[in-house]
């Protein structure tokens, strides 16, 4: 799972109002190359919750993502490279996602989060 997906995922348990962002518990990370496309990054930028993205990047050990950003930085090639790497190239392979409100743990195995809910959570 990439941070791109993490930034879109929220907890879906019935009654949970603040199911975003899920915090990340890391056991193993992996890095896979992805095609660099600045247009995609510029397009996805306004859709991201930057604070959640920054926090998630820190929790998987990427400390070079700035905390504050503004759209002008999207012209900076160096920034785009870092952004691209954190958003699309680092995969969480083993670990868990944790709901910020209920503390429910969604395990991640082989890079796939299991978001299935129990009957009483629907």
């Amino acid at each position: 799972m990439r941070l791109l997906t993490h930034n879109m995922l929220s907890c879906n348990i019935k009654g949970v109002t603040k199911g975003f962002p899920l915090s990340i518990e890391v056991q193993r990370l992996d890095t896979k190359d992805a095609d660099f496309n600045p247009d995609f990054l510029r397009n996805i930028f306004p859709k991201l919750e930057w604070k959640a993205f920054h926090d998630a990047a820190v929790s998987i050990g990427l400390n070079d993502i700035p905390e504050q950003v503004d759209p002008t930085m999207l012209e900076d090639h160096e920034f785009l490279q870092k952004f691209h790497h954190a958003l699309l190239e680092v995969h969480l392979e083993e670990g868990a996602l944790i709901c910020p409100e209920t503390g429910r743990r969604f395990p991640v195995t082989k890079g796939v989060p299991n978001m299935l809910l129990h009957e009483d959570e629907v």
Binding site: L4, M8, N12, D39, N43, G111, P113, N114, E119
Partner: protein, 291 residues
Amino acid sequence: MSLRPERQAPPEIFYNESEARKYTTSSRIIEIQAKLTERALELLALPSDGIPRLLLDIGCGSGLSGETLTENGHHWIGMDISESMIDIALEREVDGDLLVSDIGQGLGFRPGSLDGAISISAVQWLCNADKSCNDPRARLKAFFSSLYKCLARGARAILQIYPENTQQLEMISTAAMRVGFSGGLVVDYPHSSRAKKYFLCLSCGPPSTSTPLPKAKGEDGGSESEDDSEDEENETVDVAERQRPAKRLKNGKKVKGRAWLLKKKEQRRNKGVTNVPRDTKYTGRKRKTRF
């Protein structure tokens, strides 16, 4: 004719390891999935500016449809309830991110986060009540309302479905309209029972005149030359009306009244039968229960 997969077992059980592998190694299914995905992308009508979008693949299975999305340069997130299918997708090293998730429990995404959604042959599974706690209507509602929420304004969702009968089709589309989607059904090759494909084209927000419902293929009498050797999930998935015979009505026999009885007795007398009972006020009357 074998049963529809939907009738055999819940999806997470039906698509076990062997079924998942069978599904993914069949070149026919691969080809059909790719074609359906191409068509869904066409109906999705993303702006053609070459910018990759973030799409959702609902019921991605082993990632056959996702591969077509990748070929078209898009990023995607796939979700499926069958872990065996997801395992095959991992083996095939698809490019999208995968989630194990039950769409009937709603989609756990942030509001407005996705540029579009497609689904190939998945949503009809929601019409099944496989567990006692499952209510198809509630699950459809949960699915569509969360889908509506997570799509960006003006984004579209194209759901290709195999409804079992017209009631199912109506149930699905009504559920979609009820949560606020606009759009409708596009039926490709409506005159052919085999090549017929249903695409539910939904868009977020009010219906606009600038994006009319796309036109169906093969509407004018069905020249389906490129398509005639195929339909996915086999010949078994023809849209058939109810397969179960209707239950016998409780009072199967028509109740024969006094008039009928008198007529019959008269007929017998005319024939010359001598031992026909007299017609009295008791003829054709119901007996008391204590008898």
